[in-house]
């Protein structure tokens, strides 16, 4: 049984279809990523699971139960949501500690505030917080009830690099400590790659691909090779072109080119270069990144 199970989920706004039949099972303890261009339907999916939106067809359950029945075991954090603006940080957290039925409330709140380095802001009114501070208070709210299912919709937006890194560590530690299931969206690919196991790629309300970051990256069989020669001459460029290499950049003794398919080809190419007497000072291989995969999928190039 998955922690989260969605089948044939359809969400329409009038004539517009925001989700066009989503099938997704997230296993217990998975840190699952949702990627996709703006308007793909990531937030819509999260909001449906979070109970903010109804849907038009399909089913959605968490831990085998209707979503409405597991709200206590769940929590949702969105960068675009606000807490009650005229309540202070501490008052907000206290209210939600009650609502989520948290035991030992004051200790929990104090722990979370110190975890996110927010103690000094606890008496500040929520509408006076900076956006990064607000995001952190939201994360505190998100962990109040030690959720078994945590939905994070761009929860790291607005965090400075230092806090963002700490936040990722806190989330990973939380997930490892509790075995919670986390559904995560972000437009920062490095975050997704660092945190998530499997990733689903959504576009126009459909899931196009599901896989781990490395599996997704293998879909682009391309790497950029950058070689710093002792001496590069026009004959070298001609030689490379002859071997079917696409040169992307050439400056001084450094030549960069795209190489498709397997490593063996690079090995062969290097062998030939040695045989021709070209000496190599330095070599750099840049593999495709999740950013590249994102762009390719979004543009329907793979």
């Amino acid at each position: 049984m998955g922690a989260l199970s969605v089948t044939g989920l359809v969400k329409k706004y009038g004539d517009f279809t925001a989700l066009a039949g989503i099938n997704l099972t997230v296993k217990k303890g998975e840190f699952f990523g949702l990627l996709g261009p703006n308007g793909a339907g990531k937030s819509t999916l999260i909001n449906i699971i979070g109970g903010l939106l109804s849907y038009d067809a399909g089913t959605a359950t968490a831990f085998g139960l209707p979503l409405q029945e597991v709200k206590q075991r769940m929590n949702v954090v969105s960068a675009y949501a606000d807490l009650h603006s005229i309540l202070t940080v501490e008052q907000n957290l206290r209210v939600y500690a009650h609502i989520y039925g948290v035991k030992d409330r004051e200790k929990k709140i104090a722990d979370l505030l110190s975890m996110f380095e927010l103690q000094h802001l606890k008496s500040k009114r929520s509408n006076h917080l900076s956006s990064g501070e607000k995001s952190r208070v939201m994360l505190c709210k998100g962990l109040l009830n030690d959720p078994e299912l945590l939905l994070l919709d761009e929860c790291t937006v607005g965090l400075d690099p230092d806090i963002a890194e700490k936040t990722r560590r806190i989330l990973l530690a939380y997930q490892q400590r509790t075995g919670a299931t986390i559904l995560f969206t972000s437009h920062y690919m490095h975050e997704v790659e660092e945190l998530c196991g499997r990733i689903a790629f959504l576009q126009q309300g459909k899931i196009l691909k599901i896989g781990t970051a490395s599996v997704l990256k293998q879909m682009i069989k391309r790497q950029i090779i950058s070689i710093d020669f002792v001496k590069a001459d026009p004959a070298l460029l001609a030689f490379l072109r002859e071997k079917g290499v696409i040169i992307t950049h050439s400056e001084g003794n450094t030549i960069s080119f795209e190489l498709h398919e397997e490593d063996e080809k690079l090995y062969k190419l290097l062998n030939r270069l040695f045989q021709q007497g070209y000496k190599i000072k330095d070599l750099k291989i840049t593999k495709s990144t999740l950013d590249d995969v994102f762009i390719k999928i979004a543009r329907h190039e793979i």
Binding site: Y13, S43, N47, G50, G51, L52, L53, S54, K71, Q72, N75, V76, S78, Y80, A81, D82, L83, H84, S85, I86, L87, T88, Q91, R94, V95, Y96, A97, H98, I99, Y100, G101, R125, N127, M138, K141
Partner: protein, 262 residues
């Protein structure tokens, strides 16, 4: 309904009340201002029209302001979540609509009792008017009916808010003012034009205030038919407004009002 959730929501309403000058003004400033205005006007008119006029106006004002406060408070505390843009957090939490409404009713009730207390104290100190000395039982009956009716109106307003968002918030304040002229609050139905008299008798409020004036004039209420009518119509309105509220909530979930409040 879970007691934890209700407690959390009551705490939220408390903090909102304490942190917001507006919500404190609601409790005392506006009701007392109205009462004092009516009070001094009738004190001036007393010389021409006799003592009864003071009781009719200050008593009428106390009852009506209590009704108005109860109705507005509940709507305002629901609107508060729109103003503070906290619908997302609220509706992704385990709070159910029933718990949300129940907590608002409990808190609104407590607040309207505070307002009533302030009105009674001001009435007795400034104008030597003692509402409960007229007839404690009947006054309690009036207050009971007024609370139920205020709730029915509030449910309808909340239904409107969940359907159309903040753009209809003006109704939260004005609905009582809209019906006040036809509800015979300060003058008998007989003083309305004939056509409006017919309209007026449909409104439950009319029967409550007619009953109040009868009580003042004769010391008792001879026929309870009007009050029973008010009671049953109010119950029907409560039923319909809850139905409307429930449908609006479903529509809000369908159209994503809590994701993108309008």
């Amino acid at each position: 309904m879970r007691w934890n959730t209700i407690k959390g929501l009551l705490l939220k309403h408390c903090y909102t009340s304490l942190n917001s000058l507006d919500r404190i003004f609601d409790l005392f400033y506006w009701p007392l201002l109205s009462l004092v205005l009516w009070g001094f006007t009738t004190y001036y008119l007393k010389g021409y029209l006799g003592n009864m006029i003071v009781a009719i106006f200050i008593g009428g004002a106390t009852l009506f302001l209590f009704f108005e406060r109860t109705q507005q408070d509940i709507s305002v505390f629901i609107l508060e979540d729109f103003w503070s843009r906290s619908l997302f957090v609220l509706f992704t939490s385990p709070v159910t609509a029933t718990e949300l409404i129940a907590s608002t009713l409990i808190f609104g009730f407590a607040r309207s009792i505070i307002t009533l207390g302030a009105l009674l104290i001001a009435g007795s100190l400034i104008f030597s008017f003692y509402l409960f000395s007229i007839s404690a039982i009947w006054v309690l009956v009036f207050l009971f009916l007024l609370i139920l009716l205020a709730w029915a109106f509030s449910f309808f307003i909340i239904g409107l808010v969940y359907r159309y968002g903040m753009k209809i918030q003006v109704f939260a304040w004005s609905i009582t003012w809209l019906i006040q002229p036809f509800s015979a609050v300060y003058y008998p139905v007989a003083s309305l034009p004939p056509l409006l008299q017919k309209v007026s008798w449909f409104i439950p409020l009319t029967h409550i205030f007619e009953g109040f004036r009868e009580l003042l004039a004769t010391g008792t209420i001879h026929s309870t038919f009007g009050l029973w009518y008010a009671f049953f119509v109010t119950i029907a309105l409560l039923f319909l407004s809850v139905l409307y509220l429930e449908r609006s909530l479903r529509k809000a979930l369908k159209e994503g009002l809590f994701v993108h409040p309008i």
